[in-house]
């Protein structure tokens, strides 16, 4: 069974008189444990897609099944409960609460979920140790380096053991070396079974994923998994891990020229 199944998802924004189809008839399925990169130029709808996947936004049409359950029809409070238990967020700008220490930031989702303080402390200590942050537990975000901040954010995103981890440009505010560390950390989590979805416009990072979703003008232009299947049907399967998809992507949009897009 798919972890995530989007069918006919549409998201329309009204800006003054003009309407923008941020997402247009989107059908995507993602299985548990996958490593997916959502790529595309800015304004292509990849962030909107991530917000929908994270239940921060609602589609105007279509349905979203998470773990077999239709979550589009849930009440805001029920959606909050799903976010709390099943979804982890990692943001480009870390989004740590500046007045809270690293440990308190990591404990925040558990606090919101009403987990007792004793259990929180124990799980936070374990998480900080796992992420190599045990020496930084009492530091505030402004006393941490960028890489440490993002590691705190990842620890926070995974502390509730969610089914899926959504990362929005997780290396966007980091230099190359620390960015690579963060990517390796996320990949290690993925290897332990956590579904990982990264939004990025960095080809190099995107190409590391097992599957690339290329977005453009609110449409899915290219899905490396689909190419993979098609290529298995037609041509002999190439030794493509990620590089192959990366090469294909610039060419892919060419055949089926603008279908929807702006006005």
């Amino acid at each position: 069974m798919d972890l995530i199944r989007l069918t006919g998802i549409e998201r329309v924004f009204h800006l003054g008189d003009s309407t923008v189809h941020a997402l247009n008839r989107l059908d995507v399925s993602i299985e548990a444990g996958e490593y997916v990169a959502i790529m595309g130029p800015s304004g292509s709808g990849k962030s909107t897609l991530l917000n929908l996947l994270g239940l921060l936004d609602r589609p105007d049409a279509g349905s979203y099944h998470l773990e077999g359950r239709d979550v589009t029809t849930l009440s805001p409070d029920e959606q909050a409960a799903v976010r709390s238990r099943r979804i982890g967020f990692v943001f480009q700008s870390f989004h740590l609460v500046p007045r809270l220490t690293a440990a308190e930031n990591v404990a925040l989702p558990m606090m919101l979920a009403g987990i007792p303080a004793a259990e929180r402390a124990q799980r936070v200590a374990q998480a900080l140790k796992d992420f190599g942050l045990d020496q930084r537990a009492d530091h505030r975000p402004d006393q941490l380096s960028g890489g440490q901040r993002q590691r705190v954010a990842i620890a926070r995103a995974t502390i509730m053991q969610p089914a899926v981890l959504l990362a929005d440009e997780p290396t966007g505010n980091l230099d190359r070396a620390t960015g690579d560390d963060v990517i390796h950390l996320l990949e290690a989590l993925n290897q332990r079974g956590m579904t990982l979805i990264i939004v990025t416009h960095d080809q190099k990072i995107g190409s590391r994923a097992n599957r690339q979703l290329m977005m453009e003008d609110g449409e899915l232009r290219h899905d490396s998994a689909a190419v993979h299947l098609r290529s298995m049907d037609a041509n002999p399967p190439g030794p493509l891990s990620g590089k192959g998809g990366d090469e294909v992507s610039p060419a892919a949009p060419a055949p089926d020229t603008p279908a929807a897009g702006g006005a």
Partner: protein, 402 residues
């Protein structure tokens, strides 16, 4: 989210912005302190007046010469412009009333006391032996004026404690001769210090028999007649009887005024209570202003922490949780402000009492409860709107504000 966690989160949020928090706490504190200090002043004035009247003695009925202003106007009044004297004989006639326990005539004037080589101006009060009991004074040394015919008092004097101190110092005064105006009198007693009593400091008064004072000041009229009723219930009866007796003695003319301590007390009490309430009301306006300031601060907090609110939503916070956290923060600002203000107000009242020791400036309980209650209510009430605004933020929009 657990209640303890909500409170802790709100506390950390408030202390995370110390300047903004302390300013709104200060505003609330000033409002509460204003109520506490101003009501302490108003209620202090009331207590002061009540104490002054109570110090006069109990079950007291006082007769003043002259008509009361509320008597109305008649041609007869217009003719008799000068009221008939209130004489010692009038006062003595009142002693025969059954419901009267004691009567003391009182005449007063200023003169010079000259003794022990020192001279000072003093108030001279002419009265009788009964005055001591009516006013519940105590003797420090010697005895008060002796019982005698009110028209034939002996040439003796009783002095207040301050006069004794200033003229004789530590030396014994009883038995000494003094010159008071043109009289030579022997001191037979010194009063214990009692302090202020209705504008007349008894410690600075020389008491002499009423006939001596009258001849010194060459006057037949009395300043007051003090009457003590046998019981509290009989005060009204005494008032009517006294008025009737004196009317009969004065050719059927009501040319005296009878007041009772209770009536005066009740009037002042009512007046000053109203004043205190009015002052409290004015001070309460500052509490409303402080409440609006708390709302302002919380609105700023919501704007400033929009990204944080978005994050909390992304991490699974329900709208209600975010609303509770902001409400708790507003409540904390109000509570801390109110308690600080209460402390400040008590301190202000303490300073007032230190500066004016005779003035019992204690805030009344009702004012303290009302001030704290209003502070908390306005703080919470004005906290609702910002908290709801925070809870209704769109998470996607909120997260972008970084």
């Amino acid at each position: 989210m657990r209640t303890a966690d909500v409170l802790r989160f709100a506390r950390d949020a408030a202390t995370g912005y110390p300047l903004r928090t302390s300013l709104s706490v200060l505003a609330m504190a000033i409002g509460v302190a204003a109520v506490v200090v101003l009501t302490a002043l108003g209620d202090g004035a009331r207590r002061y007046v009540v104490e002054q009247f109570s110090a006069l003695g109990s079950n007291l009925v006082i007769v003043l010469p002259g008509r009361s202003a509320t008597g109305g106007f008649s041609p007869a009044n217009a003719v008799t412009t000068t009221p008939r004297d209130l004489t010692v004989d009038d006062a003595f006639a009142l002693t025969r009333l059954p419901s009267v326990r004691r009567v003391a005539p009182l005449t007063a004037g200023t003169s010079e006391i000259n003794a022990n080589g020192r001279l000072r101006e003093t108030i001279v009060a002419g009265t009788s032996s009964t005055y001591l009991e009516i006013r519940s004074f105590k003797m420090a040394q010697g005895m008060f004026l002796p019982e005698a015919d009110w028209n034939r008092g002996a040439p003796v004097a009783v002095i207040g404690s301050k006069i004794k101190e200033e003229i004789f110092g530590a030396a014994p005064a009883v038995g000494e001769l003094i010159r008071l105006g043109d009289r030579r009198l022997r001191i037979i007693g010194v009063l214990k210090s009692v302090g202020q009593g209705l504008g007349m400091n008894t410690d600075e008064v020389v008491f002499v028999p009423v006939n001596i004072a009258q001849s010194m000041f060459n006057s037949n009229t009395l300043f007051r007649v003090l009457i003590e009723a046998r019981s509290r219930d009989q005060i009204e009866g005494v008032k009517l009887e006294v008025a009737a007796v004196l009317k009969a003695r004065h050719g059927n003319e009501e040319d005296i005024t009878v007041i009772t301590q209770d009536a005066v007390l009740a009037t002042f009490d009512k007046l000053l209570r109203a004043l205190t309430a009015a002052v409290a009301g004015i001070a309460a306006i500052s509490l409303a202003v402080a409440g609006i300031l708390v709302m302002n601060v919380m609105l700023v907090a919501v704007t400033q922490r929009t990204a944080e609110i978005g994050l909390l939503m992304a991490l699974g916070a329900r709208g209600a949780t975010i609303r509770d956290a902001f409400m708790a923060e507003a409540a904390m600002l109000s509570i801390v402000g109110a308690l600080t203000g209460y402390g400040l107000g008590l301190f202000g009242a303490f300073v007032l009492r230190q500066m004016y020791p005779v003035f019992p400036a204690y805030p009344p309980n009702w004012a303290v409860i009302a001030a704290l209650g209003t502070a908390l209510t306005t703080g919470l009430l004005f906290g609702i709107m910002p908290a709801r605004r925070a809870a209704r933020l769109d998470p996607v929009q909120a997260l972008m504000k970084h």
